[in-house]
Every structure is written in C-alpha cells, then in structure tokens.
C-alpha cells in the first residue's frame, strides 16, 4: 500500500537478565500509515516503551530480531551512518520527561539548532537562529526571541515539553514517536500539547505513534489503537470499535478501572494480581490467564494468536468469548504476596 510508512514484522526485543535473554517485545507486528495516529496502550512493564525504543534503535544492549521497515528500509540492519541520517530527520521522538531529556547546560536555541545543523550543514548561524525562533513560535511558546537564549531550568514543564516537540519536528519528520508526551503535565497544558500534536499531524501529513497509559488521551487522539500486555499485542482496532466494542478481557478490565467523569460508580474494577516480571513471564498459553482465574482453563487457547474477528479488529486468544466480570464469590480478596 502506498500509504504505509512503517511496517513492523515479528519484532522481538530481548533484554539480558543474568545469562538469558527475555523478550520484552514478543512477536509484535504493526503498521503505521501516513496521517495516522496509532496509540499503544498498556500498563508499565507491558513493553510499549521498549517497542518505541526499538523502532528508533535506541536500545543499547538489547537483542532485536525481526523487521522494522521504515519506508521499505529495514531499520535493524541499517549502518550507523545511515541511521544518523534517518534518525532525527525522517523519524523523531518526543520523550516522556523533558527535564532529563534536555541538556541542562545548553540553551534552548542551541539544542534545537543542533538538531537542525546535524541534518543540514549548509545552514549558517543566522539562518539557524531564525529557523529556531520560527519553530518555537510554531509550538506556541510566547516571546520566542527571548526564550531561545534561556536554559531548560528556567522554563515550566509545559514549556520544556514544547521545546522537546520543537526539536522533534525541526526537520519535518514523517514518523513521530511520542512516548507519554503529557504524563508529567497538568490537564490544561495537556490539552494544549495534544492539540499541538494534532495540528502537526494535519500539517505535515505525518504518522504518529502515541504511547500512553491514559485512555482518555487515546480516545481523543488516536485513529487506531493497539493494546499491549506482557510484550504482546492483545487487541488492535480502530478507536471507535475499541471503546464501543472492546473484546479482550484486558482491554475491558482497563476500561472499567478508570473513574469516569460522566457517571458515578461505586466501585472501580480491579485487575487482580500484577504484571509478571520479565523473567517470570509464562511464555506458553494466554498471558492474561493468571489475572482472570475465574475463567475456565478450557476457554483459553493453547497457543493464542492474534485473530481478525471483524475487518480491522484483531483479538488474541479465545478467552474473550467467555469473559465476564467476576461475581462476588469469585473475587479473590486476599492478594497475598
């Protein structure tokens, strides 16, 4: 398809624990199209950030296998010099915490200018400064001529996040990966930043991967959603289907555990147990099995696959057909550790 910007085929990203490698991203296949926001949702430890870092090849010591085709070119096999050309220019990333991602010893202008300089050596100092101020303007920073000479610590959290976005978009990337871009921010600022990302998508016709655990943000931003649990994609659908007709038990539990502003619930749904750690993860059978113990063993598949149940709607394992929320007597209150 013409529109396809990024294609991930059977990606495994494994980390070494003692002498073994454990896959944090376990056989993930995805596509991202132009002018599309793909949201990846999951709890901490589900592998969503590991996936994003793999796409940018930012992992230092992880073992990555599979294919990440960015405009037909495999990122995994790229030479370092080619990678330096692509990274920061054709694909860029917005990191979660702007205070640790920005260099405290460089002014805002220098940091954005650096990104420009690396991909366009012809730009002279004056032209770069004009371009930086223009970028700051684009991301909605007031008085950019003044902010350009400031250091990150002089700016508020929302402003810092905007500086990060300015760096990411400085070379008009075609693929933008936003890793929890608003988690550290207040709601009003969050609304502004999300608005900004939405505008960028329209203006640059870019593909955006939005990684978040906030389902509200997903509902507002995404075109398609992938739900990740323990390194696997358990459900993939367009945003309306996912919120209206969620199928996988994990998706349904997640949606039920958030307090809703529009209705009053007495009790929130609690997902029993915790996400198992990487080394202890059962690699066979349905990985969500242990957290829905009231379902019969026979409802799970022995080797669950992501199956298309309706056009564009993929669900893993057969347990979704039998899933119901626990009745009183099935709730395990103890949660012993």
């Amino acid at each position: 398809m013409e529109n396809k910007l990024l294609e991930i085929n059977h990606l495994y990203t494994s980390f070494r624990i003692r002498d073994d490698y454990y896959a944090a991203v376990d056989d993930v296949s995805l596509t991202v199209n132009k002018n599309e926001v793909l949201a990846i949702v999951g709890e901490s430890g589900s592998g969503k950030s590991a996936l994003a870092f793999s796409i940018m090849r930012l992992h230092n010591r992880a073992k990555t296998e599979g294919e990440i085709l960015f405009k037909g070119e495999n990122v995994i096999g790229m030479s370092d010099s080619r990678l330096n050309q692509v990274r920061g220019k054709d694909m860029a990333m917005i990191f979660q915490d702007p205070l640790t991602a920005l260099n405290p010893l460089m002014t805002v202008g220098e940091q954005i200018g650096e990104a420009l300089f690396l991909h366009n050596k012809k730009l002279d100092k004056q032209a770069r400064r004009t371009k930086v101020i223009d970028l700051l303007n684009q991301v909605g920073i007031p008085r950019p001529e003044y902010v350009v000479d400031q250091y990150p610590h002089e700016l508020s959290g929302g402003m810092r996040q905007r500086v990060m976005i300015a760096i990411a978009i400085s070379n008009d990337p075609e693929l933008l990966i936003a890793d929890e871009p608003t988690t550290a921010l207040d709601v009003t600022i969050q609304a502004q930043i999300l608005d900004l990302i939405r505008q960028l998508k329209q203006k640059m016709n870019a593909g955006i991967i939005l990684i978040t655990h906030d389902l509200g943000v997903v509902a507002e931003m995404a075109d398609r959603v992938a739900v990740m649990y323990a390194g696997e994609i358990v459900e993939l659908a367009d945003v309306e289907t996912l919120f209206e007709n969620p199928q996988h038990p994990y998706t349904r539990s997640l949606l039920n555990s958030v307090p809703n502003v529009n209705q009053q619930q007495d009790k929130l749904h609690v997902i029993q147990g915790i996400v198992p750690s990487l080394a202890l993860l059962p690699r066979k059978g349905c990985r969500f099995k242990d957290r829905i113990p009231w379902l019969d063993e026979s409802t799970h598949e022995a080797d669950p696959v992501l199956r298309e149940i309706k056009p564009g709607h993929f669900v893993r394992c057969t347990c979704y057909q039998h899933f119901h929320f626990p009745k009183e007597e099935e709730v395990d209150q103890s949660d012993l550790s």
Partner: protein, 311 residues
C-alpha cells in the same frame, strides 16, 4: 462542631537576598483559604502544580509553618501557640504521593509500620508483631511480609504499606496527597477502592489532594478548586461538575479528556468556547495581579470567587 475548620490560612515562604540575606519578598504559596470538613466525609482539593494544594495539606499536619490563620481541629486551634503542647499527630496522619520514596528502603515493613506505635504506645515485641500483622491484613498483605523490605513490593503494595502506617494509630483525619498519581491505572483502582473501604470501617475523614479531576470526583463529597494559592470555587461535587461558575473551573473541566471517541468534535467546540470566554472575560474573573477574588456565596453549598457586582 465542625470536625476541621480552616480559617483564612496563609503560608508564605520568604525570598531572601540583599546584603544581609534579609527577607526581600515572599512567595504566597497559600494566600487566605478557608473551608470546613465534616466528620466521615472526603474533601477534595484540586489544582495545577504550583497552586498550593500540597502546601495546604502539609500546613495542616504541621510540616509547613503557617504564616497566619486558624486550623481548628475538633474545636482546638492547632495554629495557636498556646496549644503547641497538645499532640494532635496521633489523630492526623498523612499518605504521601510517591510510595517509592516515602518508605525507608533500609527498614523492614515491621519497622516502618510499627514506628508510630513505638512513639505512642508501649508494646512488647510480641504485641507489636501481632498489631503490625493485623494492620497488614487490613490492607491485604500477608503476615510474612513483615520481614521484607520495601523494594520487594510492587507500587500498589507499597502504597498500601504507607496506608497501614497511616492508620496504625487509628487517626481521625487522613491527608492523602496525590495517593495514586504514581501508580498504574489498574493499581489506582485497587488503592482507591481500598481507601473507601477503610473509610467506612474506621470512620475516617479524608482530605484528598489531587490534580486529577476524575479521581477527585470519584472520591469526594465536596471539592475546592485552587489557583495560585487561592480558592476560585468551592462546592459539592455536583455543583462543581454540573454547574461550574468560575472560568478557571470551566477550563479544568473542559480539559479532561473524554473517554468516548465519538464526542471528539463536541469536546473540541466546547473547549474552543471556553477558551474564547476565557480570553474575553479574563478580567471579570481575575484582578490586576492575575489572582482570584474573594469567594462569594452562590447557593447553600456553592461558593465562587467573583468580584463585587457593580449594579
């Protein structure tokens, strides 16, 4: 008698400078707020970072020195120097935001939870272990955990150890400062449910501080909205969410992401309207310094910070 009454509470931090490091100015972190909490209820304080909500909580429990004002807890003014000797710490406890940094990593769970008991009650070793095990059972942790260290627990479990410590002395008021914002959604639900359960069981009163309106709505009976150290609106949960009057509250409510993707367009126009109103009517809601006016009563339960009407 009101359970807890805050009258015109001010907490100012000095800015020092000049030759002799004199006080040259002050930051007015909390600048004259008043509210009441009835026993057994949950009172929510909402605000963005820097609005002074945490400072308020810390001032009540005595972690921040207050500049002026009254904190009347069960009829006794805690801010009055005459009452300095009265020990109220047994009755007021705090749950902190970050369960990763509020538990001492070098201490066992037993020592963490028993610390308040050791300060106030003379117990033998055996009694102490028995009490701690009882408390841990109440928060859903097994007896074996008492000899473990904090790093052996998940975030939600840690927060529950923090709660066990807070309820050890059977307090009457618990100040919960963003108790779930460091936790995953599914764990959040667990801790929130649990906080509600023990509220009923132990007849607790909560002062619930958070920036997340959804969670505050879920938990609270009354809500106060703070902005730059002042209240902009106060009312029952219904008042705030169905009938917000102040433009700042409206902006906050409008900024909450809607969980239904079908409402996207509606939400967008709503936000634009509020933004337009904010730009046009800014000076009707804030004074020259950009601060909120004094609260004015709208109805029996609802107070809004509006300027005096010149009719």
């Amino acid at each position: 008698m009101t359970f807890l009454e805050i009258n015109d509470l001010k907490v100012h931090f000095p800015i020092r400078g000049g030759i002799f490091n004199r006080k040259i100015d002050s930051i007015r972190a909390v600048d004259g707020i008043s509210f009441q909490i009835e026993a057994g209820q949950t009172y929510g304080i909402v605000g963005e970072s820097g609005s002074g909500k945490t400072t308020t909580g810390r001032a009540i429990i005595g972690l921040n020195q207050i500049t002026s004002g009254q904190i009347i807890f069960q009829g006794i003014d805690l801010a009055d120097k005459k009452n300095k000797k009265i020990d109220f710490r047994k009755d007021i406890q705090m749950i902190f935001q970050d369960p990763y940094s509020s538990l001492n990593p070098k201490k066992r769970v037993l020592d963490i939870v028993a610390e308040p008991l050791r300060n106030y009650e003379k117990l033998t070793k055996k009694e102490e272990i028995y009490r701690v095990a009882e408390l841990l059972e109440k928060v859903g942790l097994s007896e074996e955990s008492i000899y473990k260290y904090p790093h052996q627990f998940s975030g939600g479990q840690r927060q529950r150890i923090g709660i066990a410590r807070a309820i050890a002395l059977k307090p009457k008021l618990i100040i919960a400062d963003e108790p779930v914002s460091a936790l995953d959604v599914s764990v959040q639900a667990q801790v929130l449910n649990f906080m509600r359960d023990i509220q009923e069981e132990l007849n607790l009163t909560y002062l619930f501080i958070s920036h997340d309106l959804g969670i505050v709505k879920h938990m609270s009976d009354r809500i106060g909205i703070m902005y730059k150290g002042r209240y902009v609106e106060e009312g029952s949960t219904d008042d705030i969410f169905t009938n917000p009057q102040h433009i700042y509250t409206k902006r906050l409510v409008a900024a909450i992401p809607d969980i239904n993707p079908k409402n996207r367009a509606k939400q967008k126009t709503f936000r634009e309207e509020v933004q337009k109103e904010y730009e046009q009517a800014y000076h009707d809601y804030f004074d020259e310094e950009g601060l909120a006016y004094d609260l004015r009563r709208q109805s029996e339960t609802h107070l809004v910070a509006l300027p005096e009407r010149v009719n």
